[in-house]
Symmetry: C2
Subunit: 295 residues, 2 copies
Amino acid sequence: MDFNKFKVRLTEVQQRIETELSSVLPDPDGHQAVIMEAMRYATLGGGKRVRPFLLVETAQMFNADLSAVWPAACALECIHAYSLVHDDLPCMDDDDLRRGKPTVHKAFNEAIAVLTGDALLTHAFEILANIDAPAVVRIELVRELTRASGAFGMIGGQVIDIQADENARNSDIITELQRLKTGALIKSSVIMGAKIGNATERQLSSLASYADDLGLIFQITDDILDVEGKADRVGKAVGKDENHGKATFVSILGLESAKQKARELAGTAKGRLEPFGEKAQMLSETVDYILVRDQ
Amino acid sequence: MDFNKFKVRLTEVQQRIETELSSVLPDPDGHQAVIMEAMRYATLGGGKRVRPFLLVETAQMFNADLSAVWPAACALECIHAYSLVHDDLPCMDDDDLRRGKPTVHKAFNEAIAVLTGDALLTHAFEILANIDAPAVVRIELVRELTRASGAFGMIGGQVIDIQADENARNSDIITELQRLKTGALIKSSVIMGAKIGNATERQLSSLASYADDLGLIFQITDDILDVEGKADRVGKAVGKDENHGKATFVSILGLESAKQKARELAGTAKGRLEPFGEKAQMLSETVDYILVRDQ
């Protein structure tokens, strides 16, 4: 697989989302200008943009109106960016480096980092409220994104990650943790794209299963990268999980079995896309891309 | 003024909002149950509930459907509660006591406090998305609450508060700071109530002016309480502003002038309510209540 078409398309989305994010994020203004600077710092100039890519490509399968698609993708990326800012805080993962740059609490300070996360989280829903789409679609997107990112989604996963007894972690707990922490927002990317495209319940169901598999592959390969990756490619500190004695898919399954599990899931995920035929080519290649990524 | 009717009504709302909040907040569940416990800890069992009271009383002026009013009031209180949890963090105001109880980072830990704020913030919009009201009303409430609580509202005010050079603070900066930090959400309480009640633009405008004045009175009296109050009544540490060398309305205007300014604003605020006649009695008495409160 040479990924030529896929890489061209991914690069297009990455470039476009940068422009779109810049236009929906507020410009620095007022006595509180530093917060808008920090919001832009945390969001612009980097990131794989996997979630916006999934949303945009899913919506395009249904020939959705792009004027609603791009802002929704930006809202999603604001949620992802806020979660990174808060996860990097000293009281959480205590990371100094993110996307090859100092983390927000290092570049600014801790208080600004807390507030920047809050502001990005709030702004995500402001973007969704102002999308050029019927109110019923907008409110459905708000509902979907709150569900995926809240206490029963992404935040819940992060809570399990910081709370779960290291020694008591087994494959089930780690799967649940990652289903929420990483999986919920990846799933939401696909679901939001499908909802903007007015997908049927049956189509939503196939895509949800695809996204569940993809999220798990994403996390397993992340754990593999933490062991095998190079910090200059990954853009953040590697080997951290092992240093912290943290159980991961790799530490529980072993490196080879983890790779095998990811490959198996890749087959299943692509199978979910069969009903969509050629139209799902980008979503299908995303699976392979995640599987072989080096960052 | 004896406030008899007002106090009965306020107590009713305080009791009812406790029940309503308890029903819209998630029950502890899953490996992440601690986050639901912390969300409930931060929100239930106390608080003056001024914002929900304002929303409910404003909506009732327009005979609004109460099935939409109570959840909206809960969403507002979730936003207020999250802001307190984050403001109390060691990297922010570093408070150990809130509403007479240990703050969330003291009762749980810092990481849980950050995530609890995030979860309450997210949950506020989930509540609004699920209100029993037309989608256009729900999306309008989402838009209003994001605007009031984001970088150009409450968060912006908090940023100014932690960033503004202590020595450079004058009456204009402090007024702007408080208009955003406290005022925006108080204003939003009134506006959201009026929007659920389908108020006209003209009515919205009068009520917005009333709420602007009320927010400022609220902050001035807060500064006065910080000097004159007793910790056991106020429910949080007092004298903190002075200890931190923080400029307030009292330190800039002096105690007597601050009290005088609050009384003048009270007259203006009540004047804004004249078009509503008797129906605005509760909103009018709120002004006096804020003015003479001891907590």
